[in-house]
């Protein structure tokens, strides 16, 4: 049984301007001990997907449909009490900006103890012992003293370690990480990723890594889903996605990455803006920005179909197989340059 299985999940927000379909028909699953990378630009629906999974979207503002199975148990529609049990106990979550994600007027220790006391029937003293223990695990020096410090006394990287400690303190089976390294500098990013990997190996948890950084995905993920305009547009094993991406948006993402082995010159960029979710484009949401768009793309949403390479590699695109292979090989040659020649 997968640790988490999401089927046909849709979330729309009712706003004054109309209905915003932030997520539509998203499905994926993740097994225990594995890492799923979720890639997409801002507004692609990746964060909302996981806020919905956690039951953190406000039901007064949002309509949710589909199915979220946590170890086989349906989470959509269960009561607030059950959701609170799940949050922090079965699913831990860390967020993008460690500078603002901790309460500025409470000590680190207090906030860690709170996480323990919500879910475990232990004394405050015992909670404090657990807090110091987990701070040591996330490699915070002098943990037994720093536990009494306030968030502003920590650097960004240290705060993200505290956030990870807080998400892991109750030993969750699943960790949802929403852009955990985006706000950090590059060396700190590497340290945090290494830490997450180590903790995953030790605790055998499943990690959902939400990011727009393909480097992070390559580093950590086993499987990847690419989201665009609130939909999954491609899903594959991580090696397959990088070796043979099947649709133009993914091509654009890969082409916009700087490469060590490139011949130099300007990085490619995807022209245009991410789609408005209030008035999404007809047909394939990517067609206004797609250099290969056909008339069919404007009217008809491509199905999420299986790649001829198989192995669960799926994508949305109307282009014929030979056409896609030809375009990608051309692009790939251009990217790698002399190396390929």
């Amino acid at each position: 049984m997968p640790a988490l299985e999401v089927k046909d999940l849709s979330t729309s927000f009712r706003t004054d301007d109309g209905i915003v379909k932030a997520v539509s028909g998203v499905s994926f699953s993740i097994d225990q001990g594995k890492t799923l990378g979720v890639v997409g630009e801002s507004g692609s629906g990746k964060s909302v997907t996981f806020l919905t999974v956690m039951g953190l979207v406000d039901p007064r503002q949002a309509d949710v449909s589909g199915s979220v199975l946590l170890q086989g148990e349906e989470l959509l529609g269960v009561g607030a009490n059950r959701l609170r049990e799940v949050r922090g106990l079965t699913i831990g979550m860390i967020f993008q900006d460690p500078m603002t994600s901790l309460n500025p007027v409470k000590t680190i220790g207090w906030q860690l103890e709170e996480a323990v006391l919500i879910h475990q029937d232990v004394t405050r003293k015992d909670a404090r012992r657990q807090a110091i223990e987990i701070l040591k695990q996330v490699e915070i020096p002098r943990a037994d003293q720093r536990v009494d410090d306030y968030p502003h006394q920590f650097s960004g990287g240290m705060r993200q370690r505290v956030m990870i400690a807080m998400a892991l303190i109750n030993g969750p089976d699943i960790l949802i990480a929403d852009e955990p390294t985006t706000a950090l500098d590059v060396t700190t990013q590497a340290q945090i990723l290494r830490l997450m990997k180590r903790l995953q190996d030790e605790n055998k948890m499943a990690i959902l890594m939400i990011t727009h950084d393909l480097g992070v995905v390559a580093e950590l993920a086993d499987d990847v889903i690419v989201m665009y305009g609130g939909k999954v547009v491609e899903q594959a094993k991580v090696d397959d996605l990088f070796a043979k991406p099947e649709m133009p948006y993914t091509w654009g993402l890969l082409a916009s990455l700087p490469r060590l082995d490139s011949t130099g010159g300007r990085l490619e960029q995807i022209p245009g803006q991410p789609p408005s979710l209030l008035n999404p484009p007809s047909g394939c949401a990517f067609h206004p920005r797609c250099p290969y768009a056909m008339s069919r793309c404007r009217t008809e949403l491509p199905e999420l179909r299986l790649s001829p390479q198989g192995e669960g590699h799926r994508f949305r695109c109307h282009l014929e197989d030979e056409e896609r292979t030809r375009i990608w090989q051309g692009k790939h040659a251009a990217l790698v340059g002399e190396d390929a020649a």
């Binding site: 953190l56 949050r87 901790l102 007027v105 709170e114 996480a115 956030m163």
Partner: protein, 323 residues
Amino acid sequence: MTQFLIRRLFWAIFLFFAATIITYLIFWVIPADPAALAAGKSATPADIARVSHFLHLDEPIWRQYLRFVWNLVGHGSLGHSFVNRQSVDATIAKDAPVTASLVFGGAIFWLSLSIPIGILSAIRPRSLMDRGAMIFVLIGISAHPVWIGLILSYVFGYRLGLTPIAGYCNFFTGTEGAQCEGPLEWAYHLILPWITFMILFAALYVRLIRANVIETMSEDYVRTARAKGASERRVMTQHVLRNSMLPIVTILGMDLGLALGGAIFTESIFNLPGLGHEIINAYNTADLPMITGIVVFSTVAVIIFNLIVDVTYGFLDPRIRPS
């Protein structure tokens, strides 16, 4: 901490000079003849000249100002009233408790109304409760304190006879010639002024608290608390409230300091012998020492309350706690 206090003290001295010099300048500009007013209606020009000389009003304004500063620094005295020669210090000492009773009592009233309403309308924006509160806010902000005071006094004091129409009684017993005294009478006479104050300020504070709570509820650390599995109640009490009350403390400190300088309208309507009442009288008789004295008092009040706010802030917010 010492450095902080020294910096504060310099600011206080600067503010003192700024406020008093401006008072003197304004007094110098306005076309009033305090000597004529002090001398009375049947005074001859010779009388007025004598009074003018006696009050040092024939001196240039900067010498009058220096005389005031010398009196305060050298003798610790704010001088004597032009009109009745009474000591300004004694008058302020007599009036300040009245204004303080009004302001602090009023603050308790307006806070105990606006904090729960502000929080409830923030939790349920656009609800019936929230809209009702907003109507109250609109009335409170639009209505003038004179109008509110008069209506309250007319309805509850005159028509229904539930409260006194106006007047003040001392909190402490034992004043000679007092018509009424003691805590009960004191509160009984102040209830309408307090409510007037409450309507005025609660309106602003409901709006302020609501906005702050709503803003705090969308903070990242509140989402973190929810992701930990905290109940809504816990999220509110442990994470939202303290953070959202921080700006309120600043504004409350400023409002209290300002109001202590004289709640002019409310005191006038209810005939409370406080500083606001006194400054209106002083203004009508061009009584410069009295006006300056009250300005000095309210400047000091504002400075002290800002200091209290800063110290309180240090307790509430570890980020600015001096280490």
